[in-house]
């Protein structure tokens, strides 16, 4: 696997985790407000 793919994949997974957490918080807040 090329270095670029590994680095890009690592960034993608890491930011994906943060984005996933932000979406989770959004859904939890929506549920609390409903």
């Amino acid at each position: 696997m090329s270095e670029t793919v590994v680095v890009a994949g690592t960034y993608l997974i890491s930011y994906g985790l943060i984005a996933g957490y932000a979406v989770y918080l959004h859904l939890r807040r929506r549920r609390a407000r409903s």
Binding site: V7, I18, R29, A32
Partner: protein
């Protein structure tokens, strides 16, 4: 636009700028493209350290003031800190596999102390979820949050105190050991991650406030017995 949305939008722009710096810096002569992980690995661990420091501050303030806001601050900061620690561990393992030839070493003080810190703060989250009474939950997690922070300097200085695969600090009081482009990429991403931390904290605190407002008065013993609100508790 709410405060949380403004902060999250600001964080998205900051992360975009950080990514640009990290991905346009020249590749390293020895590590090649893997050196670009500098834009995510150190910033995520630094922010995790700050997050756990904020947790300790919130915990101490709760023990002194006994007001809900400090408990909410401590709990929110742990959750965000654990996310950033997970990213720090993951990116470190990818980097380690590339430049050390191994993703993990069970005898390495830096790696093991970081893993222990990660699991202790996961334990903090588990502890909070295991206790229904808000006053007892706040007190026990405040004690853990105050004690657990001793791991932060231990992890940070483990590279100076012990023999480890991990390099020592790249940015020191007497200057940086890296070329300017790389230091800049790391510092810009540090700023971006700090903004991201503040935005996620604000979002997490709003969730806690909404959930507290939506929660029924009685959660422990039916309608007859109402668990005390934190503001009503003198000492527990």
């Amino acid at each position: 636009m709410t405060r949380v949305r403004v902060l999250l939008s600001l964080a998205a722009v900051a992360v975009g700028v950080g990514l640009w710096f990290a991905l346009t810096a020249p590749p390293d002569a020895l590590q090649g493209e893997y050196a670009r992980l500098l834009g995510i690995h150190p910033p995520s661990m630094w922010v995790a350290f700050i997050a756990f420091g904020v947790t300790a501050f919130g915990s101490i303030m709760w023990l002194v003031k006994k007001t809900e806001r400090w408990d909410r601050l401590a709990a929110a900061s742990v959750e965000v800190g654990v996310i950033f620690t997970a990213i720090g561990l993951f990116t470190g393992m990818v980097w380690g596999q590339a430049v050390w030839g191994t993703a993990w070493d069970w005898q390495d003080p830096r790696l093991m102390s970081t893993a222990v810190m990660f699991f202790v703060y996961l334990g903090y989250i588990a502890l909070r979820n295991a206790i229904d009474d808000p006053a007892i939950r706040a007190r026990r997690s405040a004690i853990l949050g105050t004690i657990a922070v001793v791991q932060v300097p231990l992890v940070y200085f483990s590279v100076n105190l012990f023999r480890t695969l991990h390099q020592t600090q790249s940015i020191r009081p007497d200057g940086s050991t890296m070329p300017r482009e790389m230091s800049l990429a790391m510092l810009v991403n540090m700023g971006a991650f700090l903004i991201l931390y503040v935005a996620l904290m604000a979002a997490r605190i709003e969730v806690a406030k909404d959930e507290a407002a939506a929660a029924p008065e009685s959660t422990l013993a039916g309608e007859a017995v109402r668990p005390p609100r934190l503001s009503e508790v003198e000492d527990v």
